[in-house]
Symmetry: C2
Subunit: 116 residues, 2 copies
Amino acid sequence: MARTIIENPTHCALTHAMNSIGSKWKPLIIYLLGIKSDGLPLRFGRINAILHYISKRVLVEQLKELETDGLIIRKRYKEIPPRVEYSLSEKGRALLPILENICEWSENHMGHVTFE
Amino acid sequence: MARTIIENPTHCALTHAMNSIGSKWKPLIIYLLGIKSDGLPLRFGRINAILHYISKRVLVEQLKELETDGLIIRKRYKEIPPRVEYSLSEKGRALLPILENICEWSENHMGHVTFE
DNA sequence: CTGCATCCACGCCGATACTG
DNA sequence: CAGTATCGGCGTGGATGCAG
């Protein structure tokens, strides 16, 4: 390890990772696609319903970025009305253990932190 | 696991975790304090110099939030000129393996992604 | 040296309406 | 159903100057 060159964002693995998954919503989307749904593809409307607190416009945007970064796979069925299903790529699935670790870390260390 | 209730951000461990560490800079700061410096405390000016691409105002802000969330410890020496040293708390240190995993994940999966 | 205050521009994000 | 288009407010962050 220690290949991460923190002084220069352009060559910093951590920075690059954060550009892919560091947004407010992306971890939740990946978690949803990977664990909550047992890896089954989900339609846009379903994702939108579960993550109802994310506005539609932003959800579209986040999904597009995740697809561009190779974390999720977007499959479009040529039907009317249209059907689009999202699922995790291998790269996205590789992230699941890390997200689980983050959840554990969060649960183990929330002593003094008070939520509103 | 699976205690994370993704439908409701208020009771979602992943969301809470992301509120603490999901910003653009916080993982880098923690990584710097924990690994790059071998856990030794760092003065503000030194952090600012290494992470030169973060503006001073934002760095102050991020450090304050990290302290509030219990991830780092701020020690102020009553000297003139003032000296302030930052180091990781136990909670912050517990995050280091996760950050390493993220780096590995990033390095293992950057095939088709092109950086500018 | 470290941190705060002020100002200001830019970008994000929600709301809404519209298309195929 | 799954997006796109547009607008507008508000928050975020950079620059600068000041304080302890």
